[in-house]
């Protein structure tokens, strides 16, 4: 994660105050290897392997360095990018350090499967509560006549966390697989909504069913430049 420093802040004041040039910021969205290649069994506490066929995010109202980007339309983060992610947009901005990035994750639509010991379960879910991310823990340093990148990083593994509040939650799929009560190997939103969260920890939130738990986890997926956190609020 990028970080600010006293010298960088002083540099910003100098550059901006003296009007020393302009550069470009490139905004990209990346779902990390977990979205492009899947979540391996080793990462899961209960040995399931997760594969995403589609992980489409709708981003809007992306702003950085005082510039507003055009909404990019749906981006499927499963498309291989060699770590670069998908292009959201570019903007010409004053050279210097910028820590004002904000964005809305308006919708996440995903399809995929989970496999373990010869059993495979599929899922197709949509999370449509727009979440605004702001006060992000990163600084984008745009050089004069150069380009720096600001990355919106989507942490797909949060969907499988067993706690909304633990600092180090476990990744589990067993409870979600068990929600397939009609045993057709398709885990639906309705089945999840009818299933108690069991040992999952919702913290202070009044959440009793697995669909509400997953929806709450979905609101935490937005990060910046890898592991940088942001404040967030439902729109």
């Amino acid at each position: 994660m990028k970080s600010s420093s006293a010298s960088a802040i002083l540099s910003l004041f100098t550059l901006v105050a003296c009007g020393e040039g302009e550069g470009e910021v490139e905004v990209r969205a990346w779902g990390e290897a977990y979205v492009e290649a899947g979540i391996p069994a080793e990462a899961m506490t209960d040995g399931w392997t997760i594969h995403f066929d589609r992980f489409e995010v709708e981003l809007r109202d992306v702003t950085i360095a005082g510039a507003s980007l055009s909404d990019p339309g749906p981006l499927d983060l499963t498309e291989a990018s060699m770590g670069g992610g998908q292009l959201v947009g570019r903007a010409s901005v004053p050279a210097g350090d910028h820590a004002d990035a904000e964005f809305t994750l308006a919708r996440v639509t995903l399809e995929g499967s989970a496999s373990k010991a010869g059993v495979s379960k599929t899922f197709a879910w949509e999370f449509a509560t727009p979440i605004r991310f702001f006060d992000c823990e990163t600084t984008t340093t745009v050089p004069n006549s150069g380009t720096d990148e600001f990355q919106i990083t989507i942490h797909a593994d949060h969907l499988f966390y067993d706690s909304l509040v633990a600092e180090d939650p476990a990744l589990r799929f067993d409870p979600i697989a068990a929600a397939d009560t009609d045993a057709d190997d398709v885990i639906t939103m309705a089945e999840l909504a009818a299933t108690d969260i069991g040992a999952y920890d919702p913290g202070n939130l009044p959440i009793d069913d697995l669909w509400a738990f997953l929806a709450a986890q979905a609101t935490t997926m937005g990060h910046v430049d890898g592991e940088g956190h942001c404040a967030s609020a439902a729109e």
């Binding site: 509040v165 202070n204 986890q217 935490t220 956190h229 942001c230 404040a231 967030s232």
Partner: protein
């Protein structure tokens, strides 16, 4: 542990900002057992507690607003703001507030036999308080008598549930994840330089906002039958410690643990002298 008050003010001093030092007071923190009385659940079970003990650590007291900006030069207030904790969207950070008081250390709270016991003396910056945080932990053998049922657990609840002619005893040992933080227990108090009253930590059998009882939805007679012997006693432990636990008992344990780990069932109240 964030020794924010002392640390922040020390930093300001070192940087030569020379702020007016925010007034601090030291107040006794005690166990307050008044949140557990004879109560009734939604299924009509009358609950009487014989044991209610809890292992926690590191109490923090928070305010929702800015801290003493009026007393500090603008630059100092800005720095103080940087040093204080703020909330970020991530598991573990979904509640916020600025920490302006603390009582570090590990404690066992006995809400039945230990009501009034002092946990320690907290340092609090003068201000408007809104909430308190603490960490759940597991009690160790070093701090309790040998064989104490709380050893290696977070909470022990024991007592009776009665409904008509039925009386069912219960013993519940709850294990929270190590260092699981509870954030936002109500603590709505103004602390001034003249404040003297001790502050009491309460465990509540009923959520004062929603009216929900800790044991709502728990049918003690059904649990007594589900454990294989209708002996008038229900014992709940972490299912990871007993994989043979009947599903009804697992569900009850999970529901009770979930409620106990929310801020709905705890508060901090200034004690009447």
């Amino acid at each position: 542990m964030q020794h924010i008050a002392i640390f922040s003010l020390g930093m300001l001093g070192m940087l030569g900002c020379a702020p007016a030092e925010a007034p601090r007071v030291e107040l006794s923190i005690v166990v307050d057992g008044s949140g557990l009385g004879v109560s009734t659940t939604d299924l009509g079970w009358t609950i009487e507690f014989e044991q209610a003990r809890l292992a926690i650590a590191d109490l923090e007291f928070t305010t929702a607003g800015e801290v003493h900006q009026a007393r500090l030069p603008a630059a100092s207030a800005w720095l103080l703001g940087l040093l204080l904790t703020t909330a970020h969207a991530h598991p573990g950070h979904n509640q916020g507030g600025e920490i302006i008081g603390e009582l570090p250390g590990e404690f066992v709270l006995d809400f039945i036999d230990g009501s009034g016991d002092e946990l320690g003396v907290a340092t609090l910056i003068v201000g408007e308080y809104t909430a308190a945080n603490f960490r759940f932990r597991r009690a160790s053998a070093d701090e309790l008598p040998a064989g104490d049922p709380l050893i290696d657990h977070t909470v022990i609840l024991a007592g009776t549930a009665s409904s008509g002619d039925q009386v069912v005893g219960f013993s519940i040992a709850v294990d929270s994840p190590i260092d699981r933080e509870l954030v936002g227990a109500p603590f709505e108090t103004t602390v001034t330089e003249q404040s003297k009253a001790a502050l009491g930590v309460r465990l509540l059998d009923t959520d004062p906002q929603e009216g929900d009882h800790l044991f709502d939805g728990i049918d003690f007679a059904a649990l007594d039958a589900a454990d294989g012997s209708v002996d008038g006693m229900v014992t709940l432990i972490d299912p990871e410690l007993d994989p043979t636990l009947a599903s009804e008992l697992v569900d009850a344990y999970n529901a009770i643990r979930r409620d106990l780990q929310t801020h709905d069932l705890f508060d901090i109240e200034a004690q009447t002298p």
